[in-house]
Symmetry: D2
């Protein structure tokens, strides 16, 4: 939809617009209102270069695209009924809870193994463990390849799938070869399209899921889904979306919680939504409230930093990890909220 600055295009302007869109096999249909006329573009209206050429005309005010831009991740795409299976769990059938350390301490492997067993007993369906970590300062501990062995040891001992963040091709190759089940793309790399393509290609046909965090900053929802489209277009449609708080900070939390985006995502994409309350709020005592709110909003699960002894953690753990005891109770509460939410899928005019 083309909206001119003046109430109506002149004849010359109209002809210039028509000549541009015809190069892209589109047509123009004017819509004459009381006060002004606007111009619909019929055809592939989102063609980037065409849109930019139109926006480049002095007399055009704005262009509003109407169609969805997603081929694979759109809620009406052919993948609309695609189910993601991770370990024994089919995401969407019951709450998918991922729990474990922010960062694995390579000097204390037993701590992580102990936490892994504890979160399994508490009811988690997968284990998170950061092998490598993005840090604001270059001089902070950045993780260590050697922690991968510890993560895989936890997988073997518990039988649960494991999750870790990868930030570049080197880490991606190690994680895929080692047998990681869920690859996380962190918020700082959420729009690193080179990495998204590499991840899609490296995990194609390998039954490895990808947990794509939302980028820092309140980018539009379409940008978030479009990033997941990169992974799917690369060959792997097992993508889950992860709101994790945005900037600017809400004073008192680490970030501005954004679990409320969940129903908006579910209106546009079939992708499961797994919320990260730990990074949203950034303090252990606030995590259970935020996790329950995420489930109330219809999330398919949550990823929660949990540590058998938070004070001994490295990375964000001492500050934002809950204990396995709190996790156990929280999972029971999440299960109850899951039952409550079920009504909203069928009986009531409410998005699911």
């Amino acid at each position: 939809m083309i909206i001119p600055k003046e109430p109506k295009l002149t004849k010359e302007q109209f002809e210039e617009v028509v000549s541009i869109v015809e190069e892209y096999n589109c047509r123009i249909q004017p819509i004459e209102g009381h006060h002004r006329t606007i111009y619909a573009v019929l055809g592939e209206e989102r063609e980037t270069i065409m849109v930019n050429r139109i926006l480049g005309l002095d007399y055009i005010d704005r262009f509003d695209a109407v169609d969805s831009p997603f081929k694979l991740m759109d809620i009406h795409s052919e993948l609309a009924h695609h189910k993601i299976k991770i370990g024994d769990h089919i995401v969407g059938e019951s709450p998918f809870i991922i729990a474990g350390h922010c960062t694995i301490d390579p000097k204390n492997p037993n701590l992580f193994i102990e936490s892994a067993h504890a979160v399994k007993e508490a009811g988690a369906k997968a284990i998170r463990g950061g092998v490598w970590k993005p840090r604001t300062m270059p001089y902070s501990f950045q993780g260590d390849d050697s922690s991968m062995k510890i993560l895989i040891e936890a997988k073997e001992q518990t039988g649960l799938p494991v999750d870790t963040e990868v930030m570049d091709d080197h880490q991606l190759q190690i994680a895929v070869e080692a047998g990681v089940d869920i690859l996380q793309i962190g918020a700082r790399n959420a729009l690193n399209y080179s990495l998204l393509k590499q991840v899609g290609q490296a995990t194609a046909d390998k039954r490895i899921a990808v947990l794509l965090k939302r980028s820092i900053g309140m980018g539009p929802i379409n940008e978030f889904i479009a990033a997941s489209e990169y992974i799917a277009a690369g060959g792997n449609a097992d993508v889950m979306l992860c709101p994790r708080g945005t900037s600017p900070t809400m004073d008192g939390y680490r970030n501005y919680p954004d679990e409320s985006i969940t129903p908006l995502l579910k209106d546009k994409t079939w992708a499961p939504v797994i919320v990260d309350p730990s990074h949203s709020v950034g303090r252990a005592k606030f995590v259970p409230s935020a996790a329950m709110a995420a489930m109330a909003y219809g999330a398919d699960g949550v990823i929660i930093e949990t540590h058998c002894d938070p004070k001994r953690g490295i990375g964000d753990d001492p500050k934002q990890s809950i204990t396995p005891d709190v996790l156990r109770k929280l999972i029971q509460d999440i299960d109850q909220i899951w039952e409550i939410r079920k009504h909203y899928k069928k009986e009531l005019p409410v998005t699911a």
Copy 2:
């Protein structure tokens, strides 16, 4: 705490700072770190003019106050155990649900009376009905004094307390005289200190509660609580805080939902928190999710636009009102979430 721009104040600078704070009966205590020295202000460190004079010095980088600025609304104030009673309901003892029309249609009084009975049957504890409404454009319907009779008629027929928004002294006087039980201060007037003072004074010793919405814009939490302090300082401490979404808009919602602010408020003030999901999300189908999330975050209640026939509503009703049937079901769910939340008040290291 005074942080200088250079690693340390010079002798002359130090003496200038000391001479300023001594005018306000404060003292300076230097704290010498490895790389720099900072300077604590002992005494009434929040004295505005003193702080501004210090910040006016070229060599000062910033000033961080540490004490809470609230006398009455602070969680540690003498009012910490104050309970607000509205009708038969003690806020905080069970979910406080306010429901009804955004705007009363003065031409169709029966519609509002019908909705009032319906929300009572659905389980609401108070009835909202907009007599006057702030509208973005001056040419939109702004409400009508005559609707006050309809609101009071609903109160008499149902026996429930009633809630309406007031925007100026004229409306305030009418509402107080008519017997309104809850006065709402809307988001656009949330920092209208003249009105806040008038409301505090006009309702002092009258057992009228005030529901103060959060201002549009992501203002700091202290600014929100400070606005409630105006009402309490005016003479009425029966103030409830109401997050209702902030700008900038989350694309797809009317506002950016901010029920997640609830635990942060509860850390600083004893005031009950009643969330408004209707204005946060702005579309009926998203309201129940947002209402449940608010309760999961520990809210004391919600205020929900409910209409017996939303299509016939005026104001925001056709767009964002749910029906009494949806409300009934939602209140049952809210009651369940209330029970779930109880654990977090005692057993777990989680804020309540």
Copy 3:
């Protein structure tokens, strides 16, 4: 423009939409694209109740209005060539600089009088002096009616027009009677529609200008212009718009500077834009940069806190006031930037 959730409305849905818009004397024109059909509303498409009823339909995704909603303040309205004259100055013909104290200290009237003379000599065209001030805490100094005499004394001694902020009807009446030339509406009251109406009515046909600050929070531009429409509709079209920084805060400044909104305002309204850099950045040393940036963006002027002895100021003055000496130099620089900007009005395809 109505955008349905599914690619096309069903026959029943289409008929329901048609029946609603016909009640408001509008028509529907479908626009059939490749992938979906959207529906233009011909007629008074912004009729609020109609729009809300359409948005209340389950199968409608969104509604995009196209026409401008402004009758008086629109850039194409009959007032498009209206000029505002204040004292001897016609706003828009050369930089309009307002300068003076944030707050008049009623105990030190001479300070203000001294600053008034000094800013006049420095080149200011009007004098600001806060008689009353909104303060975050109820216990801070709120201004004093007695300062009005001091403000008017400054007007008489210098011959320059004077500016002060009013927050309620009481203050408005005092200011109008005393002979204030420019009434400021502060950011906290920028959407206080009751006050805006009172101001429009009280100043109609009195040659008093209104300086309307932008509300705190990054509200949409149309909301800002619509607030000015309230004043114009009340009877006074001498309204100037004043960006003054928004929340959330940019770390290091008091607010997030928003002088960059100027060209966007100038695209939609004929109203002059006077930027307030003092409140945007909140520290004296950053004010000149921000003032020059505002002029580079095409502002018609700036309002700058200036104090002959900032350390002795009350309110925000010690922190953010510049001195008359800095102001004099700044005004010279602003004059140069004004000359530079002139090219952009005629020769280049750039908004003015």
Copy 4:
């Protein structure tokens, strides 16, 4: 600085805090105020794990670090007087203007060569040309290795240094080998620490400058400078910072302009600031205003999309490129603003 939740730590709490900080060779100094006691941490107070452990204690409210975290990029570091030389230009001595295409069209190499000559004649000091481009959708044109030859051809013909964006190691190696003079890191990769490290290492001792854009989202200023520290720590301190607009969008612009961050950056780091107005505002007609505002804020230069025939551009060019004629005039105006700004470096109490 440790701020407890209660007015004072208990004896047990105090001892626990002391025992933690002593593990990291720090000491605690209590500061007793009227209403509460806070606790200074003397020593390396920013040690991440120590801070997180303290924040993990239930009775701690917050922790405020005071020292700057930057070793190389800090305004007081040993590099404080480091000058970056690019081609014949010493950044900071006169306006550094980079201009050219958003995206090089590999099918029309002559267009880019023509623009390169034109921007040189207009007064630009370096030529930008996008060989590869991040695109929201995977199906959009992503750039092409073959365009590198065209970029280098422009360098050879004009004798000006050239600038291009790199998004991964593959592109980085090609660009370094080909002789690119300025490597851009785009907003989406601004916190891609793996890439930042690679860039720092690959350009060490090669006289290649890096132009680091600010990440999307209003992240804190320290996060931006810390990202540049990654590159410097990798071996190359020739880093320039580039504000380019943040989310959320200001309605009417592509992003929310953030040139106003310039004085805040200059308070903390010696790094030059080169602003990108083209991506901030996103429409050609708004670019000159934003460029001049950036210079008014004290930027060392701007990077501007310029195209000899914008309508024939690909990427963002048709929408946001100005023409060489507009650029020539703009550079003259920028030179004048540069002269105006000079006063503020010496005579006035204003940051430079």
